[in-house]
Symmetry: C2
Subunit: 191 residues, 2 copies
Amino acid sequence: MTKQNIDSDLSLAILGLLAGRPMSGYDLRKVFRTTAMTAFSDSPGAVYPALRRLAQGGLIEGTIEGQDTLRPRQVFRLGKRGRTALAGSLERPVTRDDVVHRMDSLLLRFSFMSGLLGAGEIAAFLRRLAEETEGYLGVLEAELRTSGPGLPFTGRAALAQGVESYRATARWARKTLEEWIKTGSAKGGSK
Amino acid sequence: MTKQNIDSDLSLAILGLLAGRPMSGYDLRKVFRTTAMTAFSDSPGAVYPALRRLAQGGLIEGTIEGQDTLRPRQVFRLGKRGRTALAGSLERPVTRDDVVHRMDSLLLRFSFMSGLLGAGEIAAFLRRLAEETEGYLGVLEAELRTSGPGLPFTGRAALAQGVESYRATARWARKTLEEWIKTGSAKGGSK
DNA sequence: TGCAGCATGTAACCTGTTACATGATTAG
DNA sequence: CTAATCATGTAACAGGTTACATGCTGCA
């Protein structure tokens, strides 16, 4: 069985990238080092063990390219089970807890949705994300109003930063949802 | 010796909170559970070991209150070495790497600066934070322009979220710096 | 010749998660 | 009486960090 599921954001990121195109461990590390996905470490001590776990779980399969040459590389591609697991992971509903504690994971999941989820599911995700973000934004604003005056300057300002950050994300989610409904619904329905 | 330093954001958060007032482990967990500092886990498996590490390093000291009663609690307070270590940690310069990978730590550090750092140091922190954030914002915007058109909708939108997020933080830092210079410099210089 | 990049790994260590465990107090 | 809260811990596990280790290729 080895029902090892997606055990971390790093594993999710790897699956999402491999959904785009097959890559080696080194390729993945290069992506993490040079692109906006730099939240993930490019350290071999993280990437290679994660690849091994995913392969053992049957989500990806690695084939050695050029094993006759002097610089062989193991290229991994997403298996059928991997695609299913990835899609299932992306489909999970957005909770308040996600918004409060795992916003990065939510954005990571969103970034891989094109091509794996239908237009309706993507719209629903954005809507829930906007709603929950706005909800927590209200909580933070209330806390700033009530606790804020008692806090020292930098404490209050840090809290205000949190408010601004969630405000920006809420705005982004609403804007992106509109954009998606206008342009995406017509052509983008590839479940 | 046991030169155990501040080993994680959780430890830093504990030190910062104890700089405000002495607290028990349970008190700390309550703060993490009920306030905007909810990024930190309130799980006893994280908090109590962290307290023990800090105590062993000589940064905090715990005294048992009401050990005669049936519900004793160990209240921790910041020692002299702890205050020094905390201030030293807050003084560290803001690097691009911090802005890209550890923005949360930067905001956490900032939130504790009032009363521990001088007005000039706080201003310098905000200025560097603004500069580095704007710098990385430029990198992200460039990436959105160059790689964006080739990305699927959700990938591009997720990248745009990153841009908006850093934009919001840069704006906040500039605004807060202005505010601080206007109102804080006169009275807030308590190093 | 030497350095940066390609390419893959291992091992020790550390922090946090999850779950379990214990027992007292207070409010309904 | 019983559920929630107060209050403190332990233990297994898992994942990431850091550092080490190896060797080839292409370029200046």
